[in-house]
């Protein structure tokens, strides 16, 4: 039986994700998304990844979701009024239960994932040097040594995205004038 905090945050995350998928109002969906991301961040904390948890809250629940809410309120994006889409809801429930049953079978009943407790290393891996630390310092060290090229590419990607967004959001009617 997992501990209480994990169960609480897992229930919070899944409930908020249900709110995101099922709500007809886009703003309610965005609120569910924020809650789900905070739940994921809490799970990062439970997994001792403190730096990633803080990053998740800052980048996702902060910057990205503010951008989403801004766009939702800028555009009038509500679903068209009318009868509740029962067909879509039934299809969604069927898909979710199929996938969920597959997930439970794969990770729980099939026995493919050994239920080793945290910290216990499988024997075939125990002779490798293991470095797992919780500090942000070790992130920096890995990022600037082993993952230097990916870091440069990520920086370049952000620049490309910036330029792309500026050129996309320029009003195209200006060019015709």
């Amino acid at each position: 039986m997992p501990d209480g905090l994990f169960l609480f945050f897992a229930a919070l995350t899944l409930g908020a994700a249900c709110m995101l998928v099922a709500s007809r109002n886009a703003v309610t969906s965005a609120m569910g998304m924020i809650l789900a991301l905070v739940g994921v961040a809490a799970d990062f904390f439970l997994l001792d990844a403190y730096f990633l948890g803080v990053l998740q809250v800052l980048v996702y629940a902060g910057a990205v979701m503010v951008l989403f809410l801004f766009i939702i309120m800028l555009l009038n994006t509500d679903d068209p009024e009318g009868a509740y889409p029962w067909k879509a809801a039934a299809l969604g429930l069927a898909v979710f239960f199929l996938l969920g049953a597959g997930v439970l079978w794969l990770f729980h009943w099939s026995g493919a994932v050994a239920s080793t407790p945290a910290g216990a290393t499988p024997p075939e891996l125990s002779d490798l040097p293991k470095v797992f630390t919780t500090s942000a310092k070790s992130f920096g060290r890995l990022l600037y040594t082993k993952y230097l090229l990916p870091l440069e590419i990520a920086g370049f990607l952000l620049l490309v995205a910036l330029v792309g967004v500026v050129s996309l959001s320029k009003d195209s009617t200006e060019e015709n004038a």
Partner: protein, 102 residues
């Protein structure tokens, strides 16, 4: 942390991914579809962090760092595309976008 095993975190990540995929398949509002895509990314990062923690290496966690970076860039470009689409068509419902089909 003593009482959760790798399987618990993987089940949570898998169910979250299933919810996101359901939303992508079922919803018609492009913004909500986009949020469901982000939810699937978050589920994948959750699985990566769990593997990293239980395998006692940092590499999965560093990969999550890059996933968050790419997701931020992707959200910016995707939302700009959706806004441009809304300007042209006046709607973000995916049933309204049938030019290629007709």
């Amino acid at each position: 942390m003593e009482h959760t095993s790798l399987a618990h975190h993987l089940i949570l990540a898998g169910l979250l991914f299933a919810l996101g995929l359901t939303g992508v398949l079922v919803r018609r509002n492009l913004l909500v579809v986009y949020m469901c895509l982000e939810l699937m990314l978050a589920a994948a990062t959750l699985a990566l962090v769990a593997f990293s923690r239980f395998n006692k290496t940092m590499d999965g966690a560093v990969l999550v760092f890059f996933v968050i970076t790419v997701a931020a860039a992707e959200v910016a470009v995707g939302l700009a595309l959706i806004v441009a689409l809304f300007r042209k068509r006046g709607s973000v419902q995916s049933d309204a976008l049938t030019t290629l089909r007709d």
